[in-house]
């Protein structure tokens, strides 16, 4: 038994940490915190990271990766989030699927671009009537032989306005016996004529998008996997990632920042005697989520597929989402009346960042599979019966 990172993983951690210390400048941080999608400074950083092969460490060398373990992927995510570098990098997640189910031509065409930070790919799953029930998508791709013609609408496709490509789930068979058997996946050039991207803004100020397809021609070579085999592609994305919730340096940094504030400003113990225990509780939960995620990731790296009840990284991901949800609520309580002050307001603490994170926090338990859907999937993995 060993809970230490390998020398290779430690070296990677040190390298990416030092790289981001140097290159993730205030402009990038400002872009990230603005929640408006990767801007010019972020894109420049991504290209620099790509040149150092820091974006897709797990991928084979020939596609721009380093052939490192999934633990290095977790390390990368941890360093990116704790530095407020641009995230999410859906292109890398999508590339993981492409590695499993894409054709050789598709891998060659897209993976090096993603790994080098030249291109990014936006997720295109959700539609107004297909949220958690993703198999209900209706955006229709009509087979015209050497190309398909796409019509329909996607919604909540974050980053689509700053990405070059769209990882698009479509319907290719409206009469399939089961709705998930009539789906197909495409990679679509977002510059294609007929695509309109309109902004949608969340209550937390995050820019996301609705994307309209009107008679958009997509070459057949951009079909990923088989026609009507889109569900298999989606599943590869869901179960392809062996990584658990992973490290929580960013969360720990927030807790430390709050502690520093509490120690300096909240020494009036009678009024604030609840603070030390609740901060300790957050710290414990963060620790447990972190170590559980790393353990699950490490087991995945070692090829242990029979983790108990087939849970894999899911329990740790749930732990992490739930502890983050609690974090910002607690942070607001600690700041008391000052917590309601926005960025730029007189008296605002931490430049209003805590409020901003608090307002954005509900998103975290909804996007990329709501925690309810994650629980449902986990229950299935545990072998609980279906109706």
């Amino acid at each position: 038994m060993d809970f230490e990172l390998t020398p290779e993983e430690k070296a990677f951690q040190k390298e990416i940490h030092e790289f981001l210390d140097e290159h993730c400048n205030e402009h990038v941080v400002a872009e990230t915190l603005s929640l408006q999608g990767a801007g010019p400074y972020s894109k420049e950083l991504l290209r620099k990271m790509g040149a150092q092969r820091l974006l897709a460490p797990r991928w084979p060398v020939e596609y721009g990766g380093r052939n490192l373990s999934a633990m290095c992927e977790v390390i990368k995510v941890d360093e990116i989030t704790s530095h407020h570098a641009p995230f999410p990098l859906d292109g890398v997640e999508i590339g993981n699927s492409l590695l499993m189910v894409g054709s050789e031509e598709q891998k060659k065409k897209f993976l090096p671009g993603v790994a080098s930070g030249e291109i990014d790919i936006a997720l295109g799953y959700t539609e107004p009537d297909a949220g958690s029930d993703v198999a209900s998508v209706q955006l229709y791709a009509e087979d015209r032989g050497d190309h398909f013609v796409l019509n329909g609408q996607k919604i909540y496709n974050s980053e689509a306005h700053v990405c070059e490509y769209h990882w698009l789930l479509t319907r290719t068979d409206r009469n399939a016996e089961k709705k998930h058997r009539g789906l197909s996946m495409f990679i679509v050039d977002l510059e294609s004529p007929g695509i309109t991207i309109r902004p949608l803004i969340t209550s937390g100020g995050l820019r996301t998008n609705e994307v309209f397809y009107e008679d958009v021609k997509v070459p057949r070579e951009n079909l990923v996997g088989e026609k009507n085999g889109g569900w298999k592609v989606i599943m590869s994305a869901l179960y392809g990632g062996v990584a658990g919730g992973g490290m929580a340096t960013g969360t720990k940094n927030v807790i430390k920042k709050l502690i520093k504030y509490a120690l300096e400003e909240k020494q009036d113990l009678d009024e604030n005697q609840w603070i030390p225990e609740i901060m300790a509780d957050l710290w414990v939960k963060t620790h447990v989520a972190e170590i559980t995620g790393m353990r699950a990731t490490a087991l995945g790296v070692l090829g242990v597929t029979n983790q108990q009840y087939g849970g894999g990284g899911a329990p740790s991901r749930l732990l992490a989402s739930e502890s983050r949800r609690v974090l910002y609520n607690t942070a607001m309580q600690i700041l008391g009346p000052y917590s309601q002050l926005s960025k730029g307001s007189k008296y605002a603490l931490f430049d209003g960042e805590i409020l901003k994170e608090y307002l954005d926090a509900p998103r975290l338990t909804i996007v990329h599979g709501s925690v309810e859907i994650q629980k449902l999937n986990l229950a299935r993995a545990m072998g609980l019966p279906r109706r």
């Binding site: 809970f3 502690i259 710290w283 559980t292 849970g311 740790s316 609980l384």
Partner: protein
């Protein structure tokens, strides 16, 4: 990072599971709850002969020379089986402290008998005012002609009535932290009065009254007045051990719940079909996985000589509450059958409470974490 059990550790797990399944059925567990001693001397002898008590002790004293993770594995299986007996106390509160702090003479005197199952050890630490702080130690040891005379009352002493020896944590100076000494006390000494308490887990915690108990100075374990730092390490390590045991209990509750919800039919379907029940099961798995990762990481730290006090606190904080949460969810998923006295779940229900309280509850350990984070805590 490799969180898997080694081949050796896996063997410990396998043989412990097999042995306990055969020799420690729940009928025995229930019998021992009512038994005056609370353990089976025959079974105790058997596990000694199997090398379990000596598992982590050096071979020169008759031990197995294995590491703390192996012990963690064994404790987990004991927790799963609700093993009745003073194993954790003899090893963690007697044997290991003597191994760490004892003179060679003391080690030679006590360790072989512990390992062979001949003597049972415990620690008399907490007092009627409760708590695990130096300030709460009031039992006094006064020097008198080369001996020490101990006076006062210890409470919630595990295995008190069956212990042959106890490490008595006594005050030898008024300095709060630098005035505490560990004494090895023969439990049969004149003046030692023991009353078994009727506890929730029927685990025979006792009151121990020291009435002018004479202890020779050579029975001091470690250094005079400098015992408290050592006691803290002993408690931290025992807290991790308690988490291992609790983890076994949590896993057992999960393992009885999942098959049950697949089989129990209501509304013409297995109750596991219902999302409310599925979410209970999912949360149980999350609790168990969290407990498993943090417990074994802490045990690994002990094993490899890394500092472990903060990890002990974080893990005990999580597991203390987690064991109770898993039992509550498991009970809810089972429904009425599991609140019957003859069901196995209440055995874990009661043990979860006892485990929470042993070596500091979640609140106490969160205080430790808070203090580590920079807060001044009372």
């Amino acid at each position: 990072m490799d969180p898997r059990l080694s081949e050796e550790e896996e063997m410990v797990r396998r043989s412990a599971l097999d042995f306990l399944t055969e020799k420690c059925p729940k009928t025995l567990v229930r019998e021992m709850e009512k038994d005056e001693k609370g353990y089976s001397p025959e079974l105790w002898k058997e596990i000694a002969d199997l090398g379990w008590i000596g598992l982590v002790f050096p071979e020169k004293y008759g031990g197995g020379g294995m590491d703390f993770v192996s012990l963690a594995v064994l404790l987990e299986e004991m927790g799963r089986a609700c093993f009745p007996g003073p194993f954790l106390y003899t090893v963690l509160l007697g044997g290991l402290p003597i191994l760490d702090l004892g003179s060679e003479e003391q080690k030679q005197e006590y360790l072989p008998d512990i390992i062979s199952g001949k003597t049972i050890f415990t620690m008399a630490l907490t007092e009627p005012i409760g708590g695990y702080t130096a300030a709460s130690i009031k039992v006094k040891a006064t020097e008198s002609g080369g001996d020490y005379i101990i006076n006062g009352t210890k409470l919630f002493v595990p295995a008190a009535s069956i212990a042959d020896y106890m490490l008595c944590i006594a005050r030898t100076d008024d300095d709060i932290e630098k005035g505490i000494t560990i004494f090895i006390v023969d439990a049969k000494s004149p003046g030692v009065g023991i009353t078994v308490l009727d506890t929730v887990a029927k685990d025979k915690l006792g009151e121990v009254v020291f009435d002018k108990v004479k202890v020779p100075a050579k029975n001091i374990l470690g250094k005079l007045n400098l015992g408290w730092g050592e006691v803290q390490k002993i408690i931290d390590r025992a807290a991790i051990a308690k988490c291992c045991e609790s983890l076994g209990g949590m896993q057992a509750v999960l393992d009885m719940t999942i098959p049950y919800v697949k089989e129990r039919i209501q509304f013409d379907v297995p109750v596991g079909v219902f999302q409310a029940v599925q979410h209970h099961c999912v949360y149980m798995l999350i609790e168990v996985e969290g407990a498993r990762a943090s417990t074994y990481e802490a045990a690994w730290r002990v094993s490899t000589g890394r500092p472990y006090s903060i990890e002990a606190a974080m893990t005990k904080a999580w597991v203390s509450d987690g064991y109770n949460r898993v039992v509550a969810l498991g009970t809810q998923a089972h429904g009425g059958v599991s609140i019957m006295e003859d069901h196995d779940l209440p055995l874990y229900f009661r043990r979860a409470k006892a485990a929470e309280l042993a070596f500091g509850d979640a609140r106490l350990h969160r205080k430790t974490v808070a203090s580590e984070l920079g807060f001044e805590v009372a």
